[in-house]
Point group: C2
């Protein structure tokens, strides 16, 4: 009988009953958010135009544990608790003394970690009478997840999809439509923000920041419609903490503890989801778990951005938040890890980085695809290009262990599959992908647009 333990899956009964809110354990309170028009602290009433009350309550909460409603748990059980794997074949290929584990979030119906927050967001909207939700999507992971959640709760979903993805990933659009989502390329003619962008540049390929502007405008203008965001904000990070909470239990079953925790970083919730329950030990018990946020070198908000107040979107419709940012005018190049093309970062992740509780690293896309292919040919699963940034960093840490002989335990978030990203893989194999380094001059220009408070 084979005695190798490749994975640990917890039973339905061990799905966590609460989300973990890191705000409770921060050493300093988070900065307030400010209203984009007045520059004054944003009030719940103002935010209530686009968000349901319970989401707002969670966004502002400093309770450590927030209960997960039964109706949400029932749906999360479709794919949660998700598996934690020991990457034994990859370890052997790398000839490293390190142990590598990966949390596999691609088992959700939408193929990534995003439904972890789409489901509760749709649930609270449903409970408060919302008929329709507007949102944006970059690579399509979030739009798919919210379309799925809309189908589960009978809510109409309108998705503004960044044009470069809309064109490169028709299958992602069709997936959203299969669940009943209505999808339009952004910039679109459906909003003022979209029409303005098109008037300025009819060939505008879109950005996550611009698509957010369109969705927020849509929600603000219709009484039956709210807005939902797939990353960045506190409540989104909160909902994703199931990833790390489960991982800690699963590592116990493997009889291991993590030395290094790795996740990719776009808006921050992917990283927050895996890392925050580990960062908690750094904050409250003085542990030294290295938590590493990995971003694309082409969109390096954490490693090269300013820690400053900025809008969450391009048009300046969202609240102003303190975060690492490249400036809300930043238009990232068309790299293929579409979900990581965001100018800003989660305020919570930003604060933790500023205060030294986590680390950040930028990696290029070609080495990330190399890591993804090495992973696929050893561990089998085909990673999303976003997740591949985490794989790159995890492999690099394991190779470092090979040099030093250290037997570290490395855990990374394999946050989604690459089934809708195969044209990017094909470009990689053909040698058509290029790395892109943001110049100092470009960075200076985009940072010049930061708002004054």
């Amino acid at each position: 009988m084979s005695s190798v333990l490749r994975k640990v899956i917890l039973p339905d009964s061990e799905l966590p009953q609460h989300w973990y809110n890191i705000v409770a354990d921060l050493h300093h309170p988070p900065e307030a958010m400010y209203h984009p028009a007045t520059g004054q602290p944003a009030t719940p009433e103002q935010m209530g135009v686009i968000f349901p009350n319970e989401i707002l309550r969670q966004e502002m909460s400093s309770e450590r544990w927030i209960e997960i409603p039964d109706e949400v748990q029932d749906i999360l059980k479709l794919w949660r608790p998700s598996p934690l794997y020991r990457a034994i074949v990859l370890e052997k290929a790398l000839d490293t003394p390190a142990k590598i584990f990966y949390k596999w979030e691609g088992v959700s119906p939408a193929g990534s970690h995003k439904p972890n927050t789409a489901i509760p967001q749709a649930y609270y909207n449903k409970k408060e009478g919302t008929k329709r939700i507007a949102t944006e999507t970059g690579a399509g992971q979030w739009g798919s997840s919210l379309s799925l959640a809309g189908a589960m709760f009978g809510i109409e979903v309108k998705v503004y999809m960044v044009k470069v993805s809309y064109e490169q990933k028709p299958y992602r659009r069709m997936l959203m439509e299969s669940w009943g989502g209505k999808v339009v390329a952004s910039p679109s003619a459906d909003t003022q923000a979209g029409r303005d962008a098109l008037a300025k540049d009819p060939a505008n390929q879109g950005s996550l920041g611009l698509a957010i502007s369109e969705a927020v405008e849509d929600a603000a203008q219709r009484d039956d419609t709210k807005y939902a965001l797939g990353s960045v904000l506190n409540h989104v990070c909160l909902h994703q903490t199931l990833i790390g909470l489960e991982t800690k239990k699963q590592l116990e079953a493997f009889d291991e503890t993590a030395d290094i925790v790795v996740a990719c970083h776009g808006g921050g919730s992917n990283f927050a989801g895996l890392a925050f329950p580990f960062v908690a030990d750094n904050l409250t018990q003085g542990k030294k778990v290295r938590c590493l946020a990995v971003e694309p070198a082409s969109c390096p908000s954490l490693t090269r951005g300013s820690y400053a107040f900025d809008y969450g979107d391009t048009a300046g419709l969202t609240p102003i938040m303190k975060m690492y940012t490249l400036g809300h005018d930043f238009m990232p190049p068309g790299i293929h890890a579409g979900g990581l093309r965001y100018h800003g970062a989660s305020p919570l992740v930003s604060q933790l980085l500023k205060e030294g509780f986590i680390e950040a690293r930028a990696v290029n896309q070609v080495p990330s695809f190399e890591a993804a292919v090495q992973f696929a040919r050893t561990e089998g699963f085909l990673p999303a290009p976003e997740s591949s940034h985490a794989i790159r960093a995890a492999i690099d840490e394991a190779l470092e262990c090979k040099k030093t002989g250290q037997k570290k335990t490395i855990v990374f978030n394999l946050s989604g599959h690459g089934h809708f990203d195969l044209s990017s893989y094909e470009k990689f194999f053909r040698g058509e992908l290029q790395d892109y380094a943001l110049s100092e001059a470009e960075l200076k220009t985009s940072l010049a647009g930061l708002p004054n408070l």
Copy 2:
């Protein structure tokens, strides 16, 4: 705390240690296979040209339980044991007193049940020194799975992909290439069978039978190359029985027993995998579990074919087997459930049908897509078009229970996801899919080509 049990996943330690061989429990011995050229019973030496010895031994075996090598178990544990779900949301939408369960095989890296046999086939080939394997693929599920298995064991894989799929499903090709598979559209210029077909009709869109001819010819002509088949044969059905063996244990954990077991039918291994461990109870204990093989109405070998000796491929290169067949010249219309486009059927499934231990039903593709969309919008996962045939029949059985008030327990095989089939979903939504009924005249013509023994 939510008390709903949506799924049961067995731990790695409960992966079955043996495959179940139904030949041991048949009431009559299976018919022999005959050599295509001589018409005499095929000898192991003849078959050894294209198959490794251990595969041949399993093909001919009548042992009830065959041990799964540790090295195979280690890789199967990447996704096995796979989850068994209770379809509570679908049940509610149907308002049926029936309980519906589905076995979810889409969690494998290739997205279907096919790696269950690709992994052991590659393993035995590796052990016996094979450097290269040639195979065919219809929808691409099998070619993906063997490419994956090739990557795991360092074996080169050449895939002859039915041309209509090659053109409609570029992502499937790219997936195979990501694992290192070499893919060519069939009919191709690489074999005599392909060149002959192209000479006859340069616009030939291919068929599974023709692609098999190409792959068998390739393997027969090269010393370093063997052939691997993804369905039909006894050893393939054998490897798939893990599906049903796990399902029986999981139903116990749900405190249920199956009344109706449903799977789609193309070559037969999908159905065999889930159903044979249940059919075993019919054969040996006189139980009456209804086991239902669901095939497309456009390619109805079980429901309208002849139970006769026929070749497994179009060119007449494979052994002659007793099975339900539409005739090896049958060229199925370009329906989108590409994996079900096969003229024949597993000899074991055929014999069980002939002897009355299982049932067969044909369904059309439009109602199958309707079932798939209803499933996706209730249970979340997007089904492969092949699996959708099983969903259609399972829903129809549940609706029958609604009429009669019977509380039956229905279990079906959700054998794969539809991530690479979204263009078919789009055609369905646009109303561009049509049903196709094979005429009596067409059937008569294709049956006229049956070989004389």
